[in-house]
């Protein structure tokens, strides 16, 4: 990038958003203080655009904003009734597909799925809940895996493979049977190389990967999204990621 080049901008919801080449629409918007709801995106990992919650319209066409490069002059719509309704439907699907019983979840109040649902004004999951049978894995001495809440964002998979170089997690199955598995012949987390210091311990946006013996460490009223909605937290300071700050 040369000093002489003028700042490049695209337009989002009527505002100019500056970006540097290589940024996606989502990262540029967040850096500019403009929130786009998102779930599977994490700034430290390559975006893979699977949850589609960050979908925006670029020059009238829908695109996942986390994987769409920002381009000068593009016209982006994000905060519209139509896109909010589409995002809400996606989030409602996720709630109905898993077992998201917030009152019993220690991630509640610091959960990205919950925070995005609040942001989208979700009052009901709308669809008939599927109540899947997903036993927890409590085999590891320090870590509990509660698969009931998994939204298949693959952040733990990416963190374990790319950052930790361990490949502890993977997805198996297709369609509605797709589920998170661990890399051990026994299928038990205790027989993997997962350690508390792993990056994979800190990236779960929901309450699947939990440290044992420190549940509900932050009281109600002081949790990450108790004071500010996720839209404010996401574009401001980025708190610790494990929800146990």
């Amino acid at each position: 990038m040369t000093d002489a080049s003028p700042p490049q901008t695209f337009q989002m919801d009527g505002h100019d958003v500056a970006f540097t080449p290589g940024q996606s629409i989502l990262t540029a918007a967040l850096a500019a203080g403009r929130y786009i709801p998102h779930l599977c995106f994490h700034p430290e990992f390559t975006a893979h655009g699977s949850c589609k919650v960050c979908t925006v319209k670029v020059n009238g066409q829908p695109h996942a904003s986390c994987t769409t490069p920002a381009r000068s002059g593009d016209v982006v719509e994000s905060d519209t009734d139509e896109l909010t309704q589409l995002r809400l439907n996606l989030v409602q699907f996720l709630f109905a597909e898993g077992n998201h019983f917030c009152p019993s979840c220690e991630k509640s109040g610091a959960c990205t799925l919950q925070g995005v649902a609040y942001e989208l004004g979700m009052t009901t999951e709308h669809y008939s809940p599927l109540f899947p049978d997903r036993p927890v894995d409590a085999s590891h001495p320090d870590v509990l895996l509660d698969f009931n809440r998994c939204i298949l964002c693959e952040l733990c998979i990416r963190a374990s493979a790319i950052h930790d170089q361990k490949h502890v997690f993977a997805l198996s199955g297709r369609g509605i049977t797709k589920h998170l598995i661990v890399n051990a012949e026994s299928g038990r987390l205790a027989d993997t190389a997962l350690a508390l210091s792993d990056k994979a311990m800190t990236v779960c946006p929901v309450g699947v990967i939990l440290r044992k013996r420190q549940g509900f460490a932050v009281p109600i009223g002081e949790r990450r999204y108790d004071h500010q909605p996720i839209s404010a937290v996401a574009v401001g300071h980025r708190p610790k990621e494990d929800g146990h700050e």
């Binding site: 709630f95 019983f101 009152p103 509640s108 009901t124 008939s128 809940p129 997903r134 909605p229």
Partner: protein, 191 residues
């Protein structure tokens, strides 16, 4: 007695809205949260009249403007009560986590009902000479606990376990005043 507004137009006499409440498969916590609006209860009772409700002990719901239902559907009686409420209430509101998604009672949904009953009444810790209750007056449990919207149309959903007193108050005052209820961040909580 008809009143006249300042511009001389006739004003429809105020009628207290009739409100029914029911507690299905829940813990009564949402009703406790309703009572937790404290002195605002006096203001509320200026605006509404309670019909069938655990608070009035009136069992059968008459024609009502608003029905508030706490709890999900865990047995056949819950379904009958819900359908009677739907038939009688112009606006039906699902109140609290159990009504919205089954909540705590739905945590049994991946367990067979027979196994549930056997553990609770026959083989569970501390059970001696137990038997599975089978009195014909007892409503039959459903195979799974369901949210209300699985069975009838629900007009509004008020999330929370329970919804806070402030959320209930905001919701009811909006609804009674004819405004679309808006529950901003901080008032809606799923936990």
């Amino acid at each position: 007695m008809s009143e006249r507004a300042s511009d001389g137009a006739a004003v429809v006499p105020r009628r207290k809205l009739r409100v029914a409440t029911a507690s299905l498969a829940g813990c009564f916590g949402c009703h406790m949260s309703l009572l937790d609006i404290d002195e605002r209860l006096v203001d509320l009772l200026e605006l509404v009249e309670l019909d069938a409700s655990p608070l009035t002990d009136k069992k059968r719901c008459g024609p009502c403007d608003i029905g508030l239902i706490e709890g999900g559907l865990c047995n056949a009686e819950n379904v009958h009560t819900l359908r009677a409420m739907r038939a009688n209430c112009k606006i039906l509101v699902a109140v609290g986590a159990c009504a919205l998604n089954g909540g705590l009672p739905a945590q049994r949904n991946h367990i067979d009902v027979r196994d549930c009953l056997q553990t609770a009444y026959l083989s569970g810790p501390g059970v001696e000479r137990g038997f599975i209750p089978n009195d014909p007056e007892l409503p039959l449990p459903l195979a799974q606990v369901h949210p209300l919207h699985d069975v009838v149309k629900i007009d509004y959903f008020l999330a929370g376990c329970p919804p806070s007193a402030d959320a209930i108050w905001q919701f009811l005052t909006d609804l009674i005043a004819g405004r679309t209820p808006v529950t901003a961040h901080g008032l809606i909580k799923y936990d």
